[in-house]
Amino acid sequence: MSFPWAKQYQPTTEIGKFFDKQLPLPRFVYGALGAGYPTPKNLNYFYNFGVLAGVALVIQIITGVVLGMHYAANTTVAFDSVEHIMRDVNGGWMLRYMHAVGASFFFGVVYVHIFRGLYYGSYKPPREVLWMLGLVIFLLMMATAFMGYVLVWGQMSFWGATVITGLFSAIPVVGSYIQTLLLGGFSPDNATLNRFFSLHYLLPFVIFGVIILHVWALHIPGSNNPTGIAVKTEADTVPFHPYYTAKDFFGLGVYLTLFAAVVFFAPNALGEVDNYIPANPLSTPAHIVPEWYFWPFYAILRAFTVDFFFIPAKLMGVLAMFAAILLLFFLPWLDTSPVRSNSYRPLNRILFWVFVVVALVLGVAGGKPAEEPWVRLSQVFTAYYFAHFLIIIPLVSRFEKTKPLPRSISEAVLAKYGNSAPGVAAQPAE
């Protein structure tokens, strides 16, 4: 750990000392999530969402492993085995709804987590690797969620698999070979379903591994905070335990209450009814849409309807969709402002909220049929999405006049509660 005042683990029992010498796992946990991790004392509830995302993954793994005991990855029986889980397996309906709703909640929590990182500048130095590991987790989540959705082998499963693997056919020359390789055939079939089941079971554990790296990278500089300024003294921090364990448990209680409300009272509210129709390769549903958490990217995919010079519209759409996510990897270098938190960036804060609205509108447009006004709207907002990262952020970070930063986290906290102290001129975040 980085801060010299971090408390050290002191085993008190004989067995504690014994393990500390041979396998210091309690020491590791103490330093990562216990009193040995000094944390900025001004973290708000947005900082609960990392832990919530971890809990959401654990819920997915546990419910997924038990669902795997009843599911059969074969096209002739896959759909029926899901219905078997819903109707015959003891409590199967609840486990499946927890898994399906859990996926939506996992994405919801992760989107808030990413929003938090964007607003408070958590992607900026010295946390670029932490940010990029988070994006790797996000990409793995998308792959896992997509393959899990195919396992149901309903109409949306089948046609979603057709469309998403069809993306790879846009690659010049080798595209159709890659698509055939991914599908194990010329259209989604038994080979596809089997490999998706295998990978859907594997990837959550890969995600778990990357989360360990993510938390490791977090603990080198320590958590960012709503002021964005670095921790300077021990007075700026409190130990993670009991302060943030308590706060996280409270947030977790709220989260699980909402989760249970949806699982028990509106389990299909976030899903598509068409996926309760068994897959039919000869009939496409009138309106293919992915799950809601892919809608903004789906809107970008569909926004390209005319060829650009020599690049076909289809390839442009695919490139744009992947670029929309990959751009985030470069964000720490596109945003060169030394001030992290948008609380001290008056112009960037407004433009950030505009971007949030743009992303949400793209989300709405992605869930609608490919017709006007949604196509035109997607095109305009897709253009703005890229302009935000490639033009607006670099320019604003160069020319913006930022507000004065407080001298320390403690000073900011005291100023907020009436015990005001004069600010100093804007200075680099370090």
Binding site: V163, L181, G184, S187, A191, P285, D307, P369, E371
Partner: protein, 187 residues
Amino acid sequence: MATETRPLDAQLPVEGERRRDFLYVATASVAAVGAGAVVWPLINQMNPSADVLALASIDLDLSAVQPGQAVKVSWRGKPVFARHLTPEEIASANKVDVASLRDPQSLADRTKPGNAQWLITLGVCTHLGCVPLGAGEGEVRGDFGGYFCPCHGSHYDTAARVRKGPAPKNLEVPAYVFKTPTSVTIG
């Protein structure tokens, strides 16, 4: 030993190429080839298996299909549309300036000589692989009277050529032969 003529390691030049460098490169190269040989089967197992590749061709009887109608059959897990064009549909397809198309092909390029009224294509949109509407009775046929893909809004004309929307190519024409004037073998 007095007869030792090879230089000791310590006497080898530190800079420049050494005999040991060659051994390192040679070892790494052999290991890379070995790793590649092991990885290839792990990748190749994902390609279509023998039973998937061994799908036979199919025979299709067209005698019951009236002008203006179409039938949909499954071939290699994909739908095939066989459409009996009306004279008006043929005329409208031939009226288009081929050079103005995204994927320039005339109706004659896409049918068999002497059987220009039979338009046989895959029912797979060339955008992302959905099944276009228009082959079934009462389905939407899009702005150009052929097929319409509901997924992302590609419109195909009466020769199943893309006219509007994100699809880059015309609907693919599979390999087929007429066995009799009213029956074909696809594949």
